[in-house]
Symmetry: C2
Subunit: 202 residues, 2 copies
Amino acid sequence: MFSGAQISLYPMTDDFVGVILKAITALDPYRPRFRIATDDVSTLLVGPPEELFPAMRDLFVSAAASGHHCVLSAAVSRGCPGEPDDPICTPINDSRHGEPLEARIAAARQAVARAGLVGHSVAAQFSLYPLGDGHHMDEIYGCIDFLKTSGVFEKSKNFCTKLRGDAGPVFATLSEAFLRFGAPEGHVALDLTVSANSPSKL
Amino acid sequence: MFSGAQISLYPMTDDFVGVILKAITALDPYRPRFRIATDDVSTLLVGPPEELFPAMRDLFVSAAASGHHCVLSAAVSRGCPGEPDDPICTPINDSRHGEPLEARIAAARQAVARAGLVGHSVAAQFSLYPLGDGHHMDEIYGCIDFLKTSGVFEKSKNFCTKLRGDAGPVFATLSEAFLRFGAPEGHVALDLTVSANSPSKL
C-alpha cells in the first residue's frame, strides 16, 4: 500500500532557512527506509505508514528546540488508488485492523499510553478523511471517541480536532488515528497542523 | 449547507505578528457575511462557499505584499454532516452542479479565464477529498482534467496537485475545484498550501 506525506516546516523567524536545515538532520535515521524529495513548497516522505509520524515528530521537535514559533503542516495519505504501489510502503502488518471500532479504540489508547515523553509541548489539530464507499462518518466518530480519551485531547473545532500535550503522546495519538481508523486497505488522508512556541495567549 | 475553513498564516520573519495583524485587515470587507474566530493555531471562517477563496486570496496577498516568505495553510470544508447547518452558509446557488463532468470542467475553465490579475505570483498545492459514497476518484480525475487546462497548472505531485501563477487565477482555480467537483450537496474537503516569496530555487 502506498503511504506517505507532503510535509512543510514553517519557523517564524528571519533565520527560517537555518532552522529548517538544522532540523532536517533529524530525518537522517529514517532515510534508509524512506524516499524523500523536496521542492519549494513541501517535502515528500514515502515509506512505512507506522514510521511517518515518528519521523515528523523528530523533525518537528528538532525545529521547536530552536525556541522560535514553528509550525509543521502535512498532508498524510495511505492507500490512494491513484498512486503507484511502492515496495517501500509495507502494508500495515497489524491484524487488529479487522476488529470492530470498540476494540480498535482500546488498542489505540493503549499504544498512546506506551508513548514516551520527549519534553516539548505542542498543539496539534487535524482532520481525518476516510475516502470511498463505506461508513466514513462512523469511522470519524469512532476516531473522535478515541481522541477524547487519549490524554491529549483539547477540544473539537469546526472541521478538525485539537490536541495539546507533550510531543510524544501527541504524535502517537495522530499515528493511531491515521493507522487504525478507515478501512485497513482503504484510502485514508489526514490533514495536520502542529504548532510550538506560539506567543498567542490561550 | 455548512461551509468554511480553518486557516493559518505563516510569515517567515521575526516580525510575524506584525505581518499577520496588518494582513487580517484585508478580511474586513468579508466580516459582515462571515463568522470569524481565532485561537493559537488557526482562524475559523464560516460563510458563503463562493466567498471563501476570495477572502483567503485577499488575506494572503496582503501578507505577501510584506515581501517576506509567507505561507497560507487551510482546511476547507463544505457539507460536513457533523456540522450544524448554519444560515450564514448559503447553498451553492448554481444549477450547473447537476451537470456531467465535461460541462463542469468547461464552466470551471471559463470562470478562471474571467479572473482578474492581482500582480502577485504564488505557488499553491492542494488535495481535494470528496467524502462519502460515490465515485470519489472519478470526481478527482475530472478535477485534475480541469486543473491541467486552467492556465496555472504546474505539476501533479504525490497526494496533491501544484499550481503556479498570479494569485487571481490561482485562487479562482482553487475555488472552482472546491465548488464544482464532488456532489453538490455532498461532503467535500480541500487541504490547501499557498506560498509566496520563497527563497528556494526551482
